[in-house]
């Protein structure tokens, strides 16, 4: 079966012309190749400037490769004829909800995408209601977005993406600006979308969020340095350090307990497993 996302040898260079007129270029993504089968939940980690967001913007044709190709369900993002199909297949949710909300009424904002696709009004109504219910914001549908909290606004932005009925949603640090409760709610929604069969690409700086994915892609200097299940990645202290990342709390605690001489198994990774392992030492 054709994977939903196929990226082949993708390179992207930002070009910059200095006031003196000399052009320089910076390679933000450097020869990246990977595929994502439909329905997968992929987390992308990497330091600021490692190329994660630039890569993400290629997945629905917001950027086009300098070299290489990106196919979404077999459609090449370079072909203008496909661009609307590609954009309705892959939705995007960014870090700052304020930059994504365009209307002064919540439900109008959610309707914006399908309206632009020329969807039938009755169908738009259905989609908007469903999308708002899916993110738990139906009650707030007539409110003004600026009266909502950051977490609520982010849920509206997600509802806007859902209303497009995408097969895949790319989340670019969706929880970075949210309070703990807002973060939890957004992660819950991401899990529910994944369970409903939507392919999820989650770019994040939170190790705990990355651990919840099926697969982890780590980027450094525009390249993919690791592509494996998060369990394998987080079992390897050297890999974590090499990528400039941090150990998730549970793993840091496990390591500290081992250092203090407790016989905790080094394969323990989740909270439940660690609690179980500690209880068995009683």
């Amino acid at each position: 079966m054709e994977p939903i996302i196929r990226v082949e040898n993708l390179t992207f260079e930002y070009r910059k012309v200095s006031p003196e007129g000399t052009a320089t270029s910076f390679r933000a993504v450097d020869g990246v190749t990977f595929e994502v089968p439909s329905g997968e939940f992929v987390a992308v980690l990497g330091m600021n400037g490692s190329g994660k967001s630039t890569l993400a913007k290629h997945l629905n044709g917001l950027l086009l490769p300098t070299e290489g190709e990106v196919w979404i369900e077999g459609m090449n993002t370079r072909e203008d004829d496909h661009i609307w199909n590609i954009r309705s297949t892959v939705g995007m949710v960014f870090q700052n909800p304020d930059n994504q909300i365009v209307s002064s009424v919540v439900e109008d904002d959610v309707a914006f995408g399908p309206e632009n696709l020329g969807v039938d009004p009755a169908e738009i109504r259905r989609r908007v209601d469903e999308a708002l219910q899916a993110v738990g914001m139906y009650e707030q549908r007539l409110k003004a977005p600026h009266m909502l909290s950051g977490g609520q606004k982010q849920r509206i932005a997600i509802a806007g993406a859902i209303a497009m009925r995408p097969k895949c949603i790319v989340f670019d640090e969706p929880t970075a600006m949210l309070d703990p409760k807002g973060r939890h709610q957004v992660m819950d929604i991401i899990h529910r979308l994944h369970e409903a069969g939507i392919t999820v690409i989650l770019i994040t700086h939170f190790m705990e969020e990355a651990m919840q994915a099926d697969r982890l892609i780590v980027m450094k200097d525009g390249r993919i340095t690791d592509d494996m299940p998060p369990r394998d990645f987080f079992a390897d202290r050297e890999r974590i350090q090499c990528a400039g990342l941090e150990m998730p709390t549970i793993i840091a605690l496990r390591e500290e307990l081992i250092r203090l001489g407790l016989p905790v198994d080094a394969s323990v990774q989740t909270e439940e497993e660690l609690i179980e392992a500690i209880c068995q030492l009683q």
Binding site: M47, S149, G150, L253, L257
Partner: protein, 286 residues
């Protein structure tokens, strides 16, 4: 420099249908050199409080005294207040605008009349204080720098005003783990070296547990808790109800406590949590 806040009350859109009470009878005091953190869910009034402390908003009633000066007294000049109280906004790097890093950092002190060698010296000191290599960055465009570096330049711009009180609103949001570390280190260094009074607004309970001497908890415009990190974070239940959380180590210990009653869950760091687990297990063996 100390801060005393007495019975502060503030209402947005007063007299309009969407009138909202943002602050209600808030009182607290910070000693000179104290490091306090403010937590609260979005809309709890934290940002309104910060803006009051810097004189960007004036209260409906109540009083704020910074050092000896009552900043809520309209006869006092706000320019002086703003020099003393430096405010680092959320995502401060969006406010960078100059051609070079040195010019950007110099902008604030220049506005208050600093010139010549003194200005150069203050700019250099402030940039160094943030851990950036002065010689390397001074002539570069701030827009060429990485996210973490940009944020440090923006903080340097506030430090160059030589504030005695520094307020930081979510200074680590959106940074990768290593830039996050750098900014925390920088805050710690400023606090130690410059003996500034610091007020940190953050959603990151781990950062707060690591840095703050005191935690102020805001909920629906009211100050509902005021204590040491150990005191505040031992009250997981009410914090969760307010949409807040615990530092990661404390949260784990709370979960563990369900299975091991008697373990002391009030541990703020991974190291302390590990020690307490060892202590508890040894006690059980005897």
């Amino acid at each position: 420099m100390s801060i005393t806040v007495e019975n502060l009350t503030y209402t947005y859109s007063k007299g309009l249908p969407n009138e909202t009470r943002a602050l209600e009878d808030v009182s607290f005091q910070l000693e000179p050199g104290e490091f306090a953190a403010v937590i609260g869910h979005t809309g709890s009034g934290k940002s309104t409080l910060m803006q009051q402390l810097n004189g960007l908003l004036r209260p409906d009633s109540g009083k704020i005294t910074v050092g000896e000066v009552c900043i809520t007294d309209p006869s006092n000049k706000m320019t002086e207040v703003r020099r003393k109280v430096g405010l680092v906004f959320q995502y401060p790097e969006y406010q960078l605008f100059e051609e070079t890093v040195a010019k950007d950092v110099a902008f604030g002190p220049k506005q208050v009349g600093m010139t010549g060698e003194e200005l150069d010296r203050v700019v250099e000191e402030s940039i160094r204080l943030t851990g950036l290599d002065y010689e390397e960055v001074k002539e570069r465009s701030p827009f060429e720098l990485s996210g973490g570096q940009k944020r440090r330049v923006a903080i340097a711009g506030v430090l160059a005003m030589k504030p005695e009180i520094l307020i930081l609103d979510e200074p680590t949001a959106g940074l990768d783990p290593s830039a996050h570390r750098d900014v925390l280190e920088l805050i710690r260094r400023i606090h130690r070296k410059e003996r500034m009074t610091i007020l940190l607004v953050s959603h990151n309970m781990g950062d707060i547990a690591e840095l703050a001497d005191r935690v102020l908890v805001m909920n629906r415009g009211k100050l509902v808790m005021n204590g040491t990190p150990a005191e505040v974070f031992s009250r997981g239940e009410p914090l969760w109800e307010m949409g807040l959380g615990l530092p990661p180590a404390t949260e784990f210990m709370e979960r563990l406590k369900d299975r091991m009653p008697g373990i002391d869950a009030a541990q703020l760091s991974i190291e302390d949590a590990a020690k307490e687990i060892c202590r508890y297990l040894k006690g059980r063996k005897k």
